[in-house]
């Protein structure tokens, strides 16, 4: 998953029954694959302005860049933990990215399903893969902070990511560079527990003072579903005219991707 794109969103995945990255199919099909690739442009390709922005950023930060990638025309850079604030300074003062869009966190751990899916509790939510995978530029550990800055004059933007040490949970703060990072970092702090080094006052933003736990972590349960099972499936009764098959199997079990509505 560390390579850019990783087959996500490639346009042939809808109509083809075989997944697009099964390259070991007979050689006869490779010519058609090449043709298909020729007529459909890469959805992840960067335009000139973004390619230049990415090159300039890499040039400025040098060894601080761990990995670069792109997703649907948007450059993504994963930077070293010690260079997080310098990355912001480069963006704001050198690359003219004056607009702070957001700062947020992500927890890559799959949500634990205690006792399996049929152990009561929530059975209606989408079943996520149980193996840990990371986004476009990969990750060193469970937690990441990602942020997006944009330029109001040059119409480009870049997404920056930084890994968070699982033990220290310490990230450099962006408040000295972008004052708007204040609230975003307070939110990330209370939702994930990351401490932003250099933030003026990490107080609760959304949650009441004294709230325990970090709600957006994957191991924090959605309490309403724990207290009372989701009634959606319980309420489903078979239609009077039959249609038992549709009622018997849950809607999330192995959906047929190739099946198309008219």
């Amino acid at each position: 998953m560390s390579s850019s794109g990783a087959g996500a969103g490639s346009r042939s995945s809808l109509t083809d029954v075989t997944p697009p990255d099964s390259g070991e199919s007979p050689e006869a099909t490779t010519s058609t694959v090449v043709e298909a690739a020729a007529e459909i442009p890469d959805p992840h390709a960067l335009d000139d302005a973004h390619a230049e922005l990415l090159a300039r950023f890499e040039n400025e930060l040098g060894a601080g860049v761990l990995d670069t990638g792109k997703a649907f025309g948007m450059p993504i850079v994963r930077v070293q933990r010690t260079e997080w604030r310098r990355a912001a300074e480069i963006c704001r003062y050198t690359l003219e990215c004056d607009f702070l869009s957001f700062v947020a966190g992500v927890d890559w751990m799959p949500a634990p399903k205690e006792g399996g899916d049929d152990a009561g509790g929530d059975t209606s939510s989408p079943v996520q893969p149980t193996e840990t995978t990371y986004g476009v530029t990969g990750s060193d550990g469970r937690f990441q902070v990602f942020a997006r800055v944009q330029s109001t004059s040059r119409n480009y933007g870049i997404t920056l990511k930084v890994d968070v040490d699982d033990d220290a949970l310490l990230v450099q703060s962006w408040v000295p560079v972008y004052p708007g990072a204040d609230w975003h970092e307070r939110e990330t702090w209370e939702m994930y527990g990351f401490v932003f080094d250099g933030h003026p006052a990490l107080r609760h933003l959304y949650l009441p003072t004294g709230f325990e736990g970090h709600p957006l972590r994957k191991d924090y349960p959605l309490l309403s579903r724990v207290v009372k099972p989701w009634p959606g499936l319980v309420d489903v009764e078979a239609m009077p005219g039959g249609d038992e098959d549709a009622a018997a199997e849950p809607a999330v079990a192995e959906p047929a991707v190739a099946e198309e509505a008219s």
């Binding site: 996520q128 109001t152 959906p255 099946e259």
Partner: protein, 394 residues
């Protein structure tokens, strides 16, 4: 019960005693301690449950601290427990005045990841409804801003004119405020019969109403005195705080994601002007929104003329399963930049969604803006920033 109060005992009043007392008070150092004023959480000027803790020195604000979270619904957590088609129901409630515009970027994210393109007619109808959402949001603002500075009449005009637009949205989607009309790959339904002509009529009404607002509110001397030079946002500070949309354009930043961002919907085909104002004060924000309402009317008329025929749904699987990947989609919502950063792991629901809502960043500049202003101007500034609490608290 005919008891009478006993008469006061007789006493002599020496007028000089009072004078001495007053002199004694004047002689000491006046105690001008700071006063802490709580605006909200239930205050008519705060559009919901925003609480402002303002520290005052006399009439002047020393510091202001917005306290948010009274309406936090945890959408970023909830969407992890829902499938893609279910999520549009939730994100309708982020900015409830322009619900349809909230759905568009999220559906756009899912469609990008799946590699689906909605058919042209669906794209046009989406653009029309997005612009109608903008008109309904702004028309309410144009009236309500008058209310916040003490003029009652414009508010009635605002609600009256918004009703026309909301009725239009209702006749297409079935919902006045929460349409839930977007589907991955297109729309739920086509336009009803006769809707296009009805829309043209309404747009004419709105266009004329803009003249009324211009005369009645923007042309009003008192309104100008209350708003001009009040609450100035310098462009570089506004951008660094993430202030976006009309608030930033009113500071002279010529940046509109409909024109400058990644192309979405049919905005690249449209001919429209991006309005800016150099002043950056509360009046400029009012003026820019007034012009943008007119511009949106022109855009919808263009769209209605060019509305293509054809299907409104692309071919999509019956069960929406989105391939693994990540995508960022941003659009120009009525209140500013609205975006979704979606991480998908190939399931029927997203793994993580970061919701970037406009009002959150627009309001985060308040501690900076309110320092040193007078108390009545606090209300003007709050009103001119124009936020929706659901858009702050998510």
């Amino acid at each position: 019960m005919s008891t009478t109060n006993p008469p006061l005992p007789e006493f002599d009043v020496d007028p000089r005693a009072f004078r001495t007392l007053a002199d004694a008070q004047m002689g000491v150092e006046l105690d001008t301690g700071d006063m802490i004023l709580n605006l909200g959480p239930q205050h008519p000027a705060t559009h919901g449950t925003l609480r402002l803790v303002v520290r005052l020195d006399g009439e002047r604000v020393i510091s202001a601290d917005p306290v948010i979270g009274y309406m936090h619904r945890g959408y970023e957590k909830l969407v992890e427990f829902r499938t893609y088609p279910q999520i549009t129901t939730l994100i309708n409630r982020i900015d409830w005045l322009s619900s349809f515009a909230n759905e568009v970027p999220f559906i756009d994210a899912a469609e990008k990841l799946m590699g689906v393109d909605a058919p042209p007619r669906a794209q046009y109808i989406r653009t029309i409804l997005t612009e109608l959402s903008r008109i309904s949001t702004f028309v309410l603002f144009l009236g309500e801003m008058g209310l916040q500075v003490g003029a009652l009449t414009p508010a009635f005009y605002g609600f009256r004119d918004r009703e026309h637009v909301v009725n239009l949205i209702e006749s297409v989607t079935g919902g006045r405020f929460h349409p839930n009309f977007n589907r991955v790959g297109g729309l739920k339904d086509d336009l009803p019969w006769g809707w296009v002509n009805e829309t043209r009529t309404v747009l004419k009404k709105i266009y004329d109403a803009c003249d009324v607002f211009e005369d009645l509110v923007a042309g009003n001397e008192i309104f100008a005195a209350r708003t001009k030079g009040v609450g100035i946002i310098p462009p570089e500070i506004g951008a660094a705080y993430g202030v976006s949309g009309s608030n930033l354009r009113a500071s002279g930043v010529d940046w509109d994601l409909r024109r400058d961002g990644a192309p979405y919907l049919v905005y690249p085909d449209l001919d429209f002007k991006v309005w800016t104002h150099p002043d950056g004060d509360s009046f400029a924000r009012y003026w820019v929104r007034l012009q943008e309402t007119r511009e949106s009317c022109r855009m919808v008329l263009q769209l209605l003329d060019a509305l293509p025929s054809g299907p409104i749904m692309a071919k999509v699987p019956r069960i929406i399963k989105v391939p693994a990947g990540e995508v960022w989609t941003e659009v120009e919502n009525p209140l500013g930049q609205m975006g979704y950063y979606v991480f998908s792991k190939g399931a029927t629901g997203p793994f993580r969604v970061k919701i970037r809502s406009a009002s959150f960043s627009n309001v985060s500049i308040l501690p900076w803006m309110l320092r040193g202003v007078f108390v009545p101007d606090v209300i003007t500034i709050l009103a001119s920033l124009y936020f929706i609490l659901g858009d702050i608290d998510r």
